[in-house]
């Protein structure tokens, strides 16, 4: 039997759950259709950064949007708590991107200057600091660290608790969560949509496709072309440790549990989420260069997960013109943008004017010729 709701959100990862929570906050009846326990699940493979510095090179709107999410984050976290969410361990105390050697330092410095010169990118608060100042903030750095770029706006959360909190809060606000419901087809159905899944058929007035990489093949069902591709990243997680990393780094963060996550690797590997030993050795080798003293720390888990990457690395948001009421939402920064997705993007889905509001993130940008 078909079950109906105001909005169906296809995808129960961080992007889908944030949108669903935002829709439920606005009073919409929402059904989240998710895959089973083992999916590609970028949301379980990510790093937890609410990261601002360096974002938006080439697209000022993305820099603005990122900062907007960052600004909304504390209220977003508090809001979930009021609706049965859990503590997501949000900390926004600034972050560092370390440089190894002089060349790395000067390249990072040059990129800050380049972004300074782009109107609206607004990187005013990102600055270079020398090795001695870095050592004040992170005493365990090794002698090869030449400095870092620093932004007071960067922060982090526990991404697993964020996902759990979004699900709990959305459900407390009446959203229905259906797992084992891999979407097979989507079709227009009168004023709304009919979504066929492995768990049956669901009907809705509106439809949001937030299924990560799967948007590539689901969005065409509503007349949208979303050219995302997987970008493989490896993450290494250590055993619990006493606090040793007082400051957040772009490639290393110590969680409230004491485990240290190392990451920030990129690799083209199709849909293969296997582990590349050489990549692990490379990351581990760089950890030993950044922090020689962590050589004997034990890694308990590694994994690779697929980032959802657009050709230019920016989000893609669009309402279908051939099937109005159907939206495709994709980005690789599901954590950083979660607050904006819940509190700003979701209301726009209900209130209209979506494509004007998010014109900068339209997939049309990939279809215009370079000369135009």
């Amino acid at each position: 039997m078909a079950r109906s709701s105001d909005v169906i959100v296809v995808g129960g990862g961080l992007v889908g759950a944030a949108v669903a929570y935002g829709l439920a906050r606005e009073g919409a009846s929402v059904t989240i259709l998710d895959e089973g326990d083992v999916a590609f699940r970028a949301s379980r493979g990510n790093f937890g950064l609410v990261w601002v510095q360096g974002k938006g090179d080439g697209l000022p709107d993305y820099a603005d949007w990122t900062r907007r999410s960052k600004d909304l984050y504390q209220g977003f976290a508090d809001g979930m708590l009021e609706h049965n969410g859990c503590d997501i361990e949000l900390k926004q105390e600034g972050g560092l991107s370390l440089c190894l050697g002089e060349d790395d330092y000067s390249e990072t410095e040059a990129s800050i200057h380049r972004m300074h010169n782009q109107p609206g990118v607004g990187e005013n608060d990102r600055r270079m600091i020398g090795a001695d100042d870095v050592r004040e903030m992170v005493p365990i750095i090794g002698p090869e660290v030449s400095g870092a770029s620093y932004s007071p706006h960067d922060g982090h959360v526990n991404p697993l608790y964020l996902l759990r909190s979004l699900h709990a809060a959305a459900q407390q606000l009446g959203a229905r969560y259906v797992s084992g419901a891999k979407t097979l087809s989507i079709a227009k159905d009168g004023d709304g949509f009919r979504t066929e899944t492995e768990a049956g058929i669901f009907r809705s007035g509106k439809l949001v496709i937030a299924a990560g990489i799967a948007n590539k093949w689901l969005a065409p069902m509503v007349g949208l072309d979303i050219p995302v591709r997987p970008d493989r990243g490896h993450i290494l997680i250590t055993e619990r440790m006493q606090p040793v990393l007082p400051t957040l780094l772009v490639n290393a963060r110590q969680t409230a549990d004491g485990t240290i996550n190392f990451g920030n690797s990129h690799e083209e590997a199709g849909y293969d989420t296997s582990i590349n030993p050489a990549k692990l050795a490379e990351i581990a080798g760089s950890i030993v260069r950044y922090f020689p003293i962590l050589k004997n720390v034990r890694v308990v888990r590694t994994w690779s997960a697929l980032r959802v990457m657009a050709p230019d690395g920016f989000p893609i948001y669009r309402e279908s013109e051939t099937a109005p009421g159907a939206f495709s939402i994709s980005c690789h920064s599901g954590v950083t943008l979660a607050a904006a997705h819940a509190l700003d993007l979701a209301p726009s889905i209900l209130n209209g004017g979506f494509n004007d509001r998010f014109a900068a993130f339209s997939p049309e940008r990939f279809h215009v010729s370079p000369a135009a």
Binding site: G36, D37, V38, R44, L160, L163, R164, H167, A168, Q171, Y177, S179, G180, L236, I237, T238, E239, D257, S274, I275, P277, A278, L280, A281, I283, A284, G285, I287, V288, L294, K295, N296, V297, R298, V299, V300, R301, T302, W303
Partner: protein
């Protein structure tokens, strides 16, 4: 980088026998094992005991003493042997060789193998009774290990609790060595003989095992050790360590003093490597655990990766040896290293031997059913020992929408500690299956990630691909 025709992981009965057989067929063999000496758990410290402590062979029994000849044969086989080494990753691409990453003495050694035999055996089923994390509560296998390898035994009062052949064997070994046992708490539900009866005719093919079992029961009966039957609701009590055990037996509540409580509710395959490579597994209702799905040849659903021994389904040492032999002969035939007719005859013999051993399993499963209460757990009892996650929390995750153990792990950190789910995996699957009213097959198991045991950052960085 080391290259080999066959890489074997685990130097127990299956691994040693496969190595010896494959060497006889002329294959290059590398056997990698975590322990410093061959023998696995069943023949732990067999070489040392045979050479320096022959009296231990007497009280540990003839089956243990048999291990010495097996270790000798393996040592003489010419197999390349890496003891004290830990395989932390096994990568099986669709084409070409498998890659093993092995931590050894602070570096990672890389092995390219044409085929792989996983012979990592079994582990005792975790028994999450209240108080099981108290110091002084161990598994029977743990006590047996220190008895074999160090001649150590728990101080009185020693209480054994659980069900199954290993409980009987250990009680008999204690008795033979003059180690006092204060009580045996038999958790086997009543009617063991009745439940076993339908399986008896088939089990008679394994009459040797049956006789051994009879003998052990008789030793226990004549030992004078108090035995409490149909024990339920077992709890370990104590502040800093176990001081008492409490339970019900025959409708009566009993409390006994205990310095050590040893638990045993059967053994289950050690799942880490077969889960890591993502081969197909199936839930075995009779044994309440997952088994990798194996072909007649012992091959998993990942081509070129074989499993032999208790890691593929519990059968004991002799069955494991024969399974190791079967897999090695099959692999040798694939390589053209053995002539079909003679190899096939050997395979048939090994299969017959293995079948005789396996014949008693259905009888044992019926007589000593694995504990059904584990799936019903709730409340404060910790199911994940590392991250101290309670049964109640697992049920809470199920209520919050976690469809399976991987989402529950993300919600709770259960299975994220150093043991990487070995101690809580089955329990979490069983509780989620109960909470969702589904079969464990539909619930699944933790996705196991490398390294399958923690390795240091330095070991990861020292990837020795070039030597």
């Amino acid at each position: 980088m080391t290259r080999t025709d066959l890489a074997i992981i685990g130097a127990g009965p299956a691994g040693m026998s496969a190595a010896s057989t494959a060497r006889e067929a002329g294959l290059s063999v590398l056997l990698i094992d975590e322990q410093p000496e061959p023998g696995g758990q069943i023949w732990r410290a067999i070489e040392r005991n045979a050479s320096t402590r022959p009296e231990a062979l007497a009280f540990l029994g003839p089956d243990y003493a048999d291990g010495a000849a097996r270790a000798d044969r393996f040592r003489a086989s010419g197999a390349n042997y890496w003891p004290s080494s830990m395989v932390w990753h096994l990568d099986c691409p669709e084409e070409g060789d498998k890659t093993l990453l092995v931590a050894w003495d602070g570096v990672t050694r890389q092995v390219q193998a044409r085929t792989v035999l996983i012979a990592t055996g079994a582990m005792e089923r975790p028994v999450p009774v209240p108080g099981w994390t108290l110091p002084g509560v161990m598994t029977i296998g743990a006590a047996q290990t220190v008895l074999k390898s160090s001649g150590l035994y728990p101080e009185a009062p020693l209480v054994l609790a659980g069900s199954g052949p290993l409980l009987l064997l250990f009680a008999a070994q204690c008795h033979a060595a003059g180690i006092p046992v204060a009580a045996v708490l038999d958790t086997t539900p009543s009617g063991a003989m009745l439940r076993g009866l339908p399986y008896l005719p088939k089990a008679l093919f394994g009459w040797r095992s049956l006789l051994k079992g009879r003998r052990l029961m008789r030793v226990l009966a004549q030992s004078g050790i108090p035995v409490y039957r149909q024990v339920e609701g077992l709890e370990a009590l104590g502040a800093e360590r176990v001081e008492h055990v409490r339970f019900r037996s025959g409708g009566k509540a009993v409390k006994l003093e205990a310095t050590t409580l040893l638990l045993h509710e059967g053994v289950v395959p050690n799942p880490q490597l077969t889960r890591l490579i993502g081969c197909e597994h199936r839930w075995d209702r009779a044994q309440r655990c997952f088994h990798p799905v194996l072909s007649d040849r012992g091959e998993t659903s990942v081509p070129g990766v074989f499993v032999a021994g208790d890691g593929g389904g519990i059968g004991g040492a002799i069955a494991a040896e024969n399974a190791g032999r079967i897999a090695a002969l099959e692999i040798a035939e694939d390589f053209g290293a053995v002539n079909r007719p003679s190899g096939d005859i050997e395979i048939v013999k090994a299969r017959d031997n293995r079948r005789a051993q396996m014949a008693v399993r259905p009888l044992l499963d019926a007589m000593y059913p694995p504990p059904a209460w584990i799936g019903k757990l709730d409340g404060d009892v910790p199911v994940c020992r590392c991250e101290e996650v309670s049964a109640r929390a697992v049920r809470g995750a199920a209520a919050d929408g976690a469809p399976g153990p991987n989402q529950a792990k993300a919600f709770l950190r259960a299975g994220m500690g150093p043991c990487q789910g070995r101690m809580c995996g089955l329990t979490v699957t069983e509780i989620l299956a109960d909470a969702h009213g589904k079969e464990p097959d539909a619930i699944g198991y933790y996705r196991i990630r490398p390294p399958i045991k923690p390795v240091t950052v330095g070991e990861l960085a020292a990837l020795d691909g070039a030597d």
